[in-house]
Amino acid sequence: MLKPWLGRAAVLALPALPTLLAMLTTAVLFILFLLIQGQPAWQAGPLVFEGAFGSMFAWENTLMRAAPLMLTALCVALPARAGLIIIGGEGALVLGGLAAAVTPLWLPSLPAWPMLIAMGVAAMLAGGLWIGLSGWLRQKRGVNETIGSLLLSYIALAIFRHLVEGPLRDPNSLNKPSTPPLDGSYQIGVISDSFYVHWGLVAGVVACVLAWVFVRYSVVGFSLRIVGGNPRTPRMLGLPVDRLVLLTCVLGGAAAGLAGMYEVSAVQGSANTALISGYGTAGILVAFAARHNPLGIIVCAILLGGLEASGGLLQRRLGLPDATTLILQGILFINLLAWEALTRRTLDWRLWLRGHWIAAPPSRTGTTEVSHG
């Protein structure tokens, strides 16, 4: 009575079920929260959409925010492949931004392209070293990487503030302490005048695609899956666990550092405290929402970028505080993790669907399914 193609579609859609349910409950809870607050909840929903994707301007705003999110999410997702929860992306981002901002000051004058490459390399080195340090501390000293990376992030922010407001401060930056502004030729522009988003977006997408190819198709990526899956198996196989873990941390940190470089050279024009704007923290959410899948990160970064972009509109039209988007993010994160509990069930349902709904050759699928269950 039921069509087999429907069953196949259901089987394909099932893995996305926890995420979809999480988004649904998030929307319901958020509306409830606003209603309890006596806020016009029914206007807020459409406004979030309008502010995120309702116009070309909204799209540009969204993508501008999505670009650094893709890179900071990689800072979480790549180490997560090896089983680490790294949450210090914010520190890697600001140090990367700072490194990029001071590179032109310390290098002799260069043409734009070599200088931009040097800035990118400096930013990636700074970020990579910082997150790499977290990985090293975990592997060599047994320091929990979640706490370690966060402490290092706080330390990075302190160093950043100290340098930007002290030794590296441009005396002309009065109200907003900054490093000396970048020369115009070292500033990264927009992709085109009709698509007013800086090139960091391209960098973010390319980085995510590269990361996807890396974890999916490279031998190293395959080894990582073993390392992340079980702590003992890789050692028995003789895999260089420490080196693999370090590699993911350095690559992740480099991505976050690169995000800092784009924020400096495409948005701010110098390193200042505006860099500390929570992209690192939001990147954690993006990575978890995407289940640490680099291609998923592209989609989730755009969604979350949209959520953040709509904050201004909520503030202007409804007078909601700017913390509204923070609450929305928190509810979303909580729901994403809570619905994760459903994953095992969805696996069962998937097997059941395959067995009962789709008229597949029973002998073949039947045996493999039993062995999985």
Binding site: N144, I147, G330
Partner: protein, 306 residues
Amino acid sequence: MAESELSIFLLALLAGAIRVGTPFLFVSLGECLTEKGGRINLGLEGILVTGAMTGYAVSYLSGSPWLGVLAAGLSGLALGLVHGVICSLPRVNDIAFGIALILFGTGLAFFLGKDFIQPSAPMLPSIPLGFWSDDTRVRSALNVNVLFFIGVALAFVLHWGLRGTRWGLVLRLVGDHQDSAQALGYRAAGVRILATGVGGFLAGVGGAYLSLYYPGSWNEGLSSGQGLMAVALVIFARWQPINCLWAALLFGAAGAVGPALQAIGIGWGYYLFNAIPYVLTLAVMVITCRPDRTLSGAPGELSLNR
């Protein structure tokens, strides 16, 4: 001259150890209780901020700072229970959920606390232990808040409770070996939910201290990661409540180095000195942790010791 400056500096450090250390004490006792049950709650940072806002708001609205402390604790209890319940579901990672709770707690506090940044709420009272001195600096340094004494008493009570009561033994059993606890008929999930809830209550009280005594106002930059440092502090204290007390005082002193230096006119490197607690925490973890073995005293079911 130099000698008096040194004594001012040391006095500021001592005062800071108590003043800055009190919230550390409450949060670390809360985290200690949670971790004894085998869970780790990084979300205490978010609970701390929510507690600070709730405490301040209720104190302002009701006129009683103690009602504020109670409300802060209850808000922490609620968030702690959320953590406890959801992390009891299969496949939910408690560390990741803690991060989500940080985001949610801070968001909630910033959203609801917007209206309370301006008005000033009644503060918690303190006990003037420096009454014998004529020096105003000594007097102000020895003004010790009542919550500090409650925290100290609590550390001893918890120390005794974890060793000498049935509740404490069940909690430790659940945290050390879930299967044995269940074989004896205790529901591990229920015990953990309770422990996380009470831990949240204590962290909420720690937050109320921040907004109702020191620094003594509500704003969005109130917490600087105390809730997270408390997690490291508990490791340093080897999951012993009384050690939490000493560790909290040490961290308080470390956090007071920046302001103490300012008190004697050294303004250089303000941000760097303020980062001392983070460096100290990291150093402590590097010294105490080892990659090849779990720490002595660590609850066996703790995901921290994978």
